[in-house]
Each structure stands twice: as C-alpha cells, then as structure tokens.
C-alpha cells in the first residue's frame, strides 16, 4: 500500500560557523595561537564547527600543509566543515577529507566594490607581517603602525557583495541582507544595516560599529559576535553604536 508519511525532507537554512582566517603557514605557531585562543573561551570553542579561510595565505602565496592543518584543528577540538579561498590543490585535499569547498562565495560573491577597488585590488597595501585574528606568539615584535586610509562607499552594498577595508569603512547607503562588510578599523553605516558587519577583523578590540538603523544578520568586533537571533530580542529606535567590553558586545543607542 501507499506509504503516505514522507521519509525525509530537505529544508534550506543557514548554519552559523566561525571562520578561521589564517595569516601564517607556520603550523606550530598556528597551533599555539589556537590553544591560546581556546583557553580564553573553552566552552565557546568546544566541538565547534569551523570554516577555514585560506584566501589571505594564498594571496601571500604561502603554501600550507592542509592535511596537517586539519589534524591540528581536530586535535584541539574543532570540526572543520568547510574551506574557502583554497587553491586547486587545497580544494582537492579538502574534497578527499570530505570537507566541502565553498565555491559559491568565490565566484559569485567575493566582490570588492566602489572606491575600495583601488586599494584592494593591488594587495601590496601594507606589507604587514602575519598576525591578526589568531594572535601568533611567534610574531611578538610590534609593527610600526601604518595609518590606513578610510574607505568611503556611496552606493548600496547588495546581497552577495563583500567589502573589505584595511582601515575604517564608511558607507553612506544601505547594506542589504546577504551582504558582508568588513573593516580592520571601525565601520560606519549612515543608513540601514541588514547584512553582516565585522569590525576590527584583525583583532582590534577597540573598533566600533556605528549605524543608523540596526537590522543586521550579524555584527562582530574582533571576532566576538552576535547573530540576528540575539539582535532581534531588542529593537532599537534610531542610531546605535556597538563596542566591545570584556568580550561582550554592547549595543547602545546614540542619543
């Protein structure tokens, strides 16, 4: 007889996972840095899924032993679930290890638009050594600060677009849901922010996000983040600023 109960169902949904951006191919340094980071918030990182972002490494043409990297990540307690920005060989290795390769973002979406183009397309901006998001103790010498220019964008940032600024990022138009804006410094959005905004992406904990109308999918400062699920619990009327205090994101209306 006909069985009327469906056996399964597919649903489309988004799944939240932190992204590990590597700036250094020294795996010992990476492991040390990971352990140091995990020690700060062991609960948060335990058994966490993780996406590995190799764009920066590949941009600097630093090769990495991908299999070894996965072993280390698993050893310290992560579940690597994806790779993006990998080169052909790394994507192949990922495939062999059953780790999905994020290609959609690569072809359709890693777009840097507007006035950023000039600074971002040629990646010689500031030949800063490797450090940031994961702090590598192997690199303790402070780099003389390069004062990065701020980036001004006047056109809307649409779904699927990404903008990266080495300094502050100032956006006069809306940022759509599905768009991602990132800055090593502060982010200002003089309009509605519906997408993802990540300030202080190289670990600057004093970076702030300012926006006229906060409806973001995600906000993050120096890696500490809140998703729309957390954000939706409260509505803000008017402009807000977001800053970091003891690893907690504070959202305050600007009055």
């Amino acid at each position: 007889m006909l069985n009327t109960l469906p056996v399964l169902e597919f649903k489309s949904s988004t799944f939240f996972a932190p992204i590990l951006i590597l700036f250094n191919n020294d795996l010992i340094a990476v492991e040390d840095a990971l352990r140091a980071k995990i020690d700060l918030a062991p609960e948060f990182f335990r058994d966490s899924p993780l996406i590995i972002d190799l764009r920066e490494l590949n941009r600097q043409q630093h090769d990495i032993d991908f299999n070894q990297l996965i072993l280390i990540l698993r050893k310290v307690g992560f579940f690597p679930v994806g790779i993006r920005g990998g080169n052909e060989q790394q994507n192949k290795q990922a495939h062999t290890l059953s780790i999905p390769v994020d290609t959609v973002r690569e072809q359709g979406a890693s777009i840097i638009i507007g006035e950023t183009q000039k600074t971002e397309i040629n990646p010689q901006v500031s030949p800063q050594p490797v450090t940031p998001a994961v702090k590598t103790p192997a690199n303790p010498a402070p780099v003389p600060p390069v004062i990065p220019a701020s980036t001004l964008i006047t056109q809307p940032i649409r779904s699927g677009q990404r903008v990266y600024a080495t300094g502050d990022l100032i956006i006069m138009s809306q940022v759509s849901a599905g768009a991602e804006i990132m800055a090593e410094g502060n982010i200002h959005v003089y309009n509605t922010l519906r997408g993802r905004a990540l300030a202080g992406v190289h670990g600057n904990t004093s970076a702030r996000i300012f926006c006229f109308d906060l409806q973001a999918e995600l906000i993050s400062i120096a890696g500490d983040y809140k998703t729309s699920e957390d954000l939706n619990k409260q509505t803000y009327h008017g402009p807000v600023q977001i800053y970091l205090q003891d690893h907690a994101l504070i959202i305050k209306e600007i009055t």
Partner: protein, 270 residues
C-alpha cells in the same frame, strides 16, 4: 549606437520575457528600431510570446558560431516593422554562449539599431551574467514577494560589479525597478509586499508597476505582446514604462485597485 537594455531578475517566472517583449514592442511602436534577444538557451520563450515561433530558422547561437549572418537570423515582427527578434536556440547547450560571441553580435546590432533588449534567463550563472555584461540600462523585474526581492538585490550586486561598465570603471549601469504581477488586493491583505516594502529593501528608481492581469496570459497565448492590448491594465502599464524610460513624466497607477477602478470609470486612460 544602440542603447543596450537587460531585463533581469535572478528569479524565474517573474515576468522577464513578458516584459522584454512588451518594452521592445513599445519602443519599436514609438519609431525606434529595436532588436530583442532571447538569452534563455534551451527554453526559448520569447518567440512564442511574440508569435513568431514558426518563422525561426536560425538562432542566436548560429550567429555566434558563424553558421548564419545576423540578417539571416533576425526575424521581423509581424505587427511592427521596427521590431526584430533574435531567438534563442532550443537545442544547443548553454556553453555555446560565449562572452566574445555575444559581444560581437551586440556590436553588430548596435550599429543598426537604436535599442537592443536582452531577455535574461533566470539564475545568477553564466547565461544571466552574459545577458547583463554589455548592458547600459537594467530593468530589474521583481514580484512583490520576499524571495524575488532578495534575488533582485543579488542581481543588483552583480550588475554593479560584474558588468563591462563596472570592469572598465565606466559610468555604472542605470538600474530601474519594474514591479510586476502586482496584486493590490493581496497586498492589502498582507499576503504580498507593498511597493513601499520593496522599495525599502531595494531603493531603486521605479519605472513602473505592472498589475497582475489575465490579459497577460491571453496575450501570450495569442502571440501578441500585451502592450498591444491597449484596453488591458497590464498593457497600459507597460506603455507607461516605455514612456517613462524615454523621459516622459507619467504618474504611477495600478498601485491601488480602487484607484484603477475610478480611473476606468472616468475614462482616465492617458
């Protein structure tokens, strides 16, 4: 030099082909020599809507491959001698469309025509990207529902970054919103997004609202672009769109069902 218009959306079934046929006919009827190209390789709908499917001998890909000249492939419309159709191939696979090939065909068309309308396939892949690559103007066709608005937003991102104008750092493509299949009763019931809802997300210059209308299906079954049905609201709305695109100032209508009704009562077409 022709102005190249892409009719695009991201999502399928929103009314791109209906719109392409209507505005191409509208421009041609106003005396502008216009070509309309079907980029939807494999599906081939445009020739049906324009009622010339039985006259298709050669297609877009034949021209790209050098198997036919442009003149051999272009079909002159039966209702308007200023309108020509370049049909899509139903048999070839999509890879036959190449940027170089499309560029060459458009360049040749641009010499002889005033407007070239590119009917984009759905999706955000190669076919859609090629349809918009050479565009000067984009008609972003959107239905008042969230998934369509999202896809349009995505398409706008591609328009502003992946077009030839963007790559060359030229003046960006002019983007216009065309809200189609607008059913004001369902908007009032909250079943569909309102114009304001859509504009809050997209903030684009509104070229027109095309109401949901049975006349669209009737027209396409008859192989006559709906813009030629001057009694229908959809036909009038498309005529307004063409007029606005050409720089005329026309108030928006069909936003509200009642308004349309009153207008009809007072013979207010025009």
């Amino acid at each position: 030099m022709a102005r190249i218009i892409v009719v695009t959306s991201g999502k399928g079934g929103v009314g791109k082909t209906t719109t392409s046929a209507a505005i191409a006919m509208g421009l041609a009827k106003r005396g502008h020599k216009t070509a309309v190209i079907d980029f939807d390789v494999g599906l081939r709908n445009l020739d049906l809507i324009l009622g010339c499917e039985r006259r298709v001998v050669y297609d877009f890909i034949n021209v790209i491959n050098g198997e036919a000249s442009l003149n051999q492939a272009l079909i002159r419309d039966k209702n308007c001698n200023m309108l020509y159709i370049l049909p899509a191939s139903q048999t070839r696979d999509k890879d036959a469309l190449t940027q170089e090939g499309v560029g060459k065909v458009l360049e040749e068309l641009a010499r002889d025509f005033q407007y070239v309308v590119c009917d984009s396939p759905a999706g955000i892949e190669k076919g859609a990207n090629l349809a918009l690559y050479f565009a000067d103007d984009a008609f972003v066709v959107t239905n008042p529902e969230i998934s369509s608005v999202r896809d349009s937003d995505r398409m706008l991102g591609i328009l502003s970054s992946k077009s030839r104008r963007a790559e060359r750092g030229e003046e960006p493509i002019k983007e216009y919103l065309l809200l189609t299949r607008y059913d004001s009763d369902r908007v009032k019931l909250g079943e569909m997004l309102s114009l304001n809802d859509v504009q809050e997300i997209l903030s684009l210059q509104l070229l027109g609202i095309i109401p949901e209308s049975k006349s669209v299906l009737t027209a396409s079954n008859a192989g006559i672009p709906v813009i030629l049905d001057e009694k229908s609201e959809a036909g009038q709305a498309y005529a307004d769109v063409v007029a606005r695109y050409l720089g005329e100032d026309r108030p928006h209508r069909f936003i509200d069902g009642k308004q349309g009704f009153l207008r009809r009562l007072f013979g207010g077409k025009k």
